[in-house]
Amino acid sequence: MNSREKELMERYIYQVVRHLPREQRQEVSMELQELIGDMRETEPSMEAVLTKLGDPREFARKYQDGSRCLIGPEYFDTYIWLLKIVLVCTAVTVLIASAVQGFREGSVMNAAGGVGNLFSSCIGAFGMVTLLFALMERGKIQLDKKQETQWRVQDLGDNFAGGKKFWTPDYLSPIPHKKALISRGDCIVSIVFTVIFGILLIFAPSFFDGVFKNGEEFFPLQILNLAQWDQILPLFVLSLAIGLADDIFRLIAGYYNKAVMASSIVCGSLQLILTFLALKVFPFWNPDFGERLKELLGDQMSPAASLFLEKWDGDLVSDALLVFFALVTAAEIGTAVYKTLRYGVQAEVPGSHR
């Protein structure tokens, strides 16, 4: 083997092993060196040897197990379907928000900014959905493994086969009770609202401004504390992401069961904690709201408005929102727990001995 042939061989081996997991590369390249060396002794040239071995990518593919994927076939259809919905509703929300903002500022829509927002938000939405599905894929794989290694006395019976289990009809889980089914529509509505709300909070928090009329003119007035928005926003985004994860999980599960119940409880509690932090720990409301409104409205304030201003207290509104959110969360968790325990628990097959 001359140096040119050696170079060709090394290039070929590199093309094969670069597609393999790191820990296999060393060993496989030694194997291939041996193989190619042996073949070269019976073939007229290195080119003939490598042609016989064929496309290195094909070779590498045969070395791989084929089980390494981010999102498996089981979830793939749901993933693509949901991705479309989320991307469309992200894009529409961002476009409308940019247009309305441009209109408000009295200028033509800031095209560059709008397109930039469109890109970054779509990429963000894509990443979020993909990440959540990838996590679920991993979770499922681990769940499967756990099931395989769980040993039971029954394994010693007719089904015992060197630690591996045969499938028997006993493993059929019951068809979920009709009342345990989770509506796909409900999940989608919830996901769409989460996405729209999230996009608005991220790209157009000024949408939540109040607009007040002074004579013939309209004045926008910040209700939220946008000065500290960069600290408050991450809490909200995280909370929404957790809600999104819970919704996607329900969508995939399809019916209430213990896993959905656990996810509801954990996600609901986390969201509640994050909302509490955002509303109570940070100054969530614009601290100057009362003063500025008084300035704006001046003397033409109606008695109702002045009463409202006197009573305006951010803390109180926070408490009210928090109580409202806690009630909604409690209702959601309650539904999940009730439906799971009442309809979603795996029933035994009548007469089975499991």
Partner: protein, 114 residues
């Protein structure tokens, strides 16, 4: 025409794929290195491409049917494979199944021949 040939090729590949493991296991009572296995299979009329065989050997080793050892004494390092005890056991069972299958197939095809 090309399509028909393609289809035939695919079907015949599928047919042979099922016999790969048994063919390889049958040759591994004594230790062998990869290319000597390629050659001996080819001589006996059961050719397997090296790019199929090498990954298969690794897989069978991972499944515990074969064991491997590197020998560095010769002119170049060689990886030898040999059946494990578990591999012997599986091979015997597969072999019995193959014989039953072959007998059954023979009957089917004979019947058709009339």
């Amino acid at each position: 025409m090309g399509e028909e040939r393609n289809l035939l090729e695919n079907l015949s590949m599928e047919l042979r794929r099922g016999t790969l493991v048994l063919s390889v296991l049958s040759q591994m009572k004594e230790k062998k290195y990869g290319y000597s296995l390629v050659q001996s299979l080819e001589e006996k009329g059961v050719a397997i491409d090296p790019n199929t065989l090498y990954p298969l050997l690794r897989r069978l080793e991972k499944q515990g049917l074969l064991e491997s050892m590197w020998e560095t004494g010769g002119s170049k390092p060689r990886k030898y494979y040999r059946r494990t005890a578990y591999g012997d056991e599986i091979y015997q069972k597969l072999r019995t199944q193959w014989e039953e299958l072959a007998a059954g197939m023979e009957k089917l095809l004979e019947e058709e021949r009339g």
